[in-house]
């Protein structure tokens, strides 16, 4: 009999098994990081309460682009979570897992009979990762929201905007993936603790707090000085000029001048050396920032963004083109590093977004996202050791498909 078990991929978390009861983006992102570090990550999916990203914009559940983007290298098992037998099956499966990640609506796991106490009863050393907008308990934990709500509540949105205007906030896609990463880190810490002591635990992650953690020093500004920080366009207290400036063809260049030497290099490139003597220090540049930005913009506007980046880099000035989505997918460095990479996906080759790291003895990343229930045979047959008769019975009852 040939095994349905996934091939060994190596990596630091090889041998770790993660079960996901997740939806949309943040929970799946945490699971993806584990998969990229070598863990075996199994998504429990239920046709009866399918993740919207499985069906969004497509008729074929196995071809949903959003789902495929966030779930490479995972396994999928199909279990009806609306039936008691399905929940019992998940509890059986959890006895073979090290980590559970859930980001269902507040209270949902408890109603399903899959809360921490229930899981701990069958798997005492489980690492149970609970993800909620405000965390799992407290006066506001009943509230729900989407990623831009996390950013608004956590203090990020208030700090993004044009000077003297209402806050504009980060792009609407921001927050879920940051939140997923924080959850993955906390879970990895708990795993390491378990390896050293045998003890599992409950990990309770708050999306809103994740956002505040991304502006920790701004919050410290308030708690130390009483100043409430506000959005200030692209300005920076320690650098000037610091911003995005228009180039030809509607493109933009980002320039950050962190030293007087870089400023001299910039004005030399601009062929306006007098600016160096006029505004030799950060204090002088901050005092005349609007005027400097005006002159800089006049100069950049006549140039091609990429050529200007090359010119400034040669002179030692920190500069980068503001990348559009065309620039991003064509970024040769991202391909060279293996950030974009090709994997096997249903007999075809597919390009995916890989990990943010390279490391020695890294996990291999070989496969795209799973088809719905693609790994039922492995999970029910090999992990749970269910007989063919039993599996047929479960399938006939609609518990599995």
């Amino acid at each position: 009999m040939t095994s349905n078990a996934p091939a060994a991929r190596g990596g630091p978390l090889a041998g770790v098994r993660v079960l996901e009861l997740t939806k949309v983006w943040a929970g799946p992102y945490a699971g993806k990081l584990f998969a990229f570090l070598g863990a075996e990550v199994i998504r429990v999916e239920s046709l009866e309460s399918l993740d919207v990203t499985r069906s969004f914009g497509v008729a074929d559940l196995d071809k949903a682009p959003g789902f495929r983007a966030v779930n490479p290298q995972k396994l999928s098992v199909q279990i009806d979570m609306k039936k008691g037998e399905g929940i019992a099956l998940i509890l059986d499966l959890l006895q073979h897992c090290d980590v559970l990640i859930e980001n269902l609506r507040p209270g949902a796991v408890k109603r399903l009979g899959l809360g921490y106490d229930a899981v701990k009863a069958v798997k005492p050393d489980i690492i149970y990762v609970s993800m909620g907008m405000w965390g799992s308990a407290g006066p506001l934990s009943y509230q729900t929201g989407y990623a831009p709500c996390f950013a608004a509540l956590g203090g990020v949105s208030a700090l993004v905007g044009y000077e003297d205007e209402a806050p504009a906030g980060m792009n609407v896609r921001y927050a879920d993936s940051t939140y997923g990463t924080a959850a993955a880190y906390a879970a990895a810490v708990a795993l390491l603790h378990r390896r050293r002591t045998g003890e599992g635990q409950f990990v309770d992650v708050s999306a809103v707090e994740c956002m505040t953690s991304m502006i920790g020093d701004e919050v410290m500004d308030y708690t130390l000085t009483g100043r409430v920080p506000v959005s200030a366009g692209n300005r920076h207290p320690d650098m000037a000029p610091h911003g995005a400036y228009p180039c030809a063809e509607g493109e933009w260049i980002s320039i950050a001048v962190a030293s007087d030497a870089a400023w001299q290099a910039l004005v030399t490139a601009m062929q306006q050396p007098a600016l160096a003597t006029q505004y030799p220090t950060l204090a002088a540049r901050k005092a005349h920032e609007a005027e400097i930005e005006r002159r800089l913009s006049e100069w950049t506007a006549t140039h091609d963004a990429s050529e200007l980046v090359a010119t400034l880099q040669q002179r030692g000035v920190a500069a980068a083109k503001s990348a559009s989505s065309v620039d991003l997918v064509a970024d040769a460095h991202l391909w060279t590093r293996g950030f974009y990479r090709e994997v096997e996906d249903g007999g075809e080759t597919r390009s995916i977004v890989g990990p943010s790291w390279t490391m020695t003895r890294a996990a291999e990343i070989t496969h795209g996202a799973p088809k719905l229930g693609e790994h039922n045979d492995y999970v029910f047959g090999e992990l749970l050791g269910l007989s063919p008769d039993k599996r047929r019975e479960l399938a006939d009852a609609g518990i599995t498909r």
């Binding site: 993806k32 608004a152 208030a158 919050v219 997918v329 003895r361």
Partner: protein
Amino acid sequence: MSALRGYRILELAEGAAGEYCGKLLADFGAELIKIEKPDGSATRALGPFAGGVNADAQERSGLFAYLNTGKRSVTLDLASDAGRATLHQLLGRVDAVIDDHAPGWLASLGIAAQTLDQRWPALVACAITPYGQDVPDERRHAEDLNVLHASGWAFHTPSASDPQRPPLKGPGRFLPSYEAALDAALCVVAALYERETSKQGRFIDIAKQDVMASRVDYVLGQMIAGDMDVSSNRRAFDLFGPAGIFACRDGYAYIWMSAPLHWDALRQLLGDPEWMRSFPERWLERECTPERVAQCRHYIAEWLKGELKEDVAARAQKLGLTLVPVNDPSDLVDSPQYAFRHYFADVAHPVLGMARYPTVPYQLSATPARIGGAAPRLGAHTQAMLKELAP
């Protein structure tokens, strides 16, 4: 005991990325030995400043105080032979090293991916840089601003960008650094996990550009696979609809609307106003035209400017409408939910005094994270460390 107690980690970093990574590890009880050049880490020169103008200049940085809680400070001149010899002694006694200097800097000290197995076989080495150790020459000079632009986030921020106005940098000064620190800490802990049995170290190369680009994998993954169009449009990452930030009487609120249940909740909240009746019942999903979005936003703006942000959010949430206040740091310090979770911790610093510090966004039942004391004075632990290393 907390989870990382017993691990010794050497921090060579002096930027927000490496120092925040070290802090994330220190909060779980790891022993963080921070190596500082004789005049101190670069972050000591960055604000916010407090503690009075007469205080020691190197100890007035609120940024340094925040990023370096629970660490020990050892000054070492790595430009000198003696300094490097001490560093090499230390490297033999630690489990991991964290750095965020320019690519190649760690290699110049003898720590590199290619030679780690020979020279420091049990060391976990993690370097955080803007574009990775293999940076092309034309990207050698980069600040966090540039990374945010190279990753695509800035070009697409804010949502519904006006193509005539500049893309925005994101919140504060260090978003890519904080984000990269999370990935770095995750990889370091994963490497320590495997090392428990293999006894082998590992070289980890974190690129901030890749961290930020991976944060938009839901969109970028579709683009790289050919499932979503790429373009030079500033709105290529956007979702469309009336969602957005609106002014209230006492600040701002964010409202999200994408489904009929949100529309119904809004109708209930507003008492079935005349203007909503002119919209088709399921317009948000099926007939979300720019004209309707603009009209809807106009009425929402008119309504919200007379409301109080906390009050209207609480009423909306009860009806299932996703409306939340846009909080600033003062709101966060006053948040009952943050108080419930003890998100802020009071830390006494010898120069800055007592202040509230943000902690971490996860609670671990068996091994909670804790701030292990105020940030160290420059070189506070140099003598003790040299004594420990003496033969």
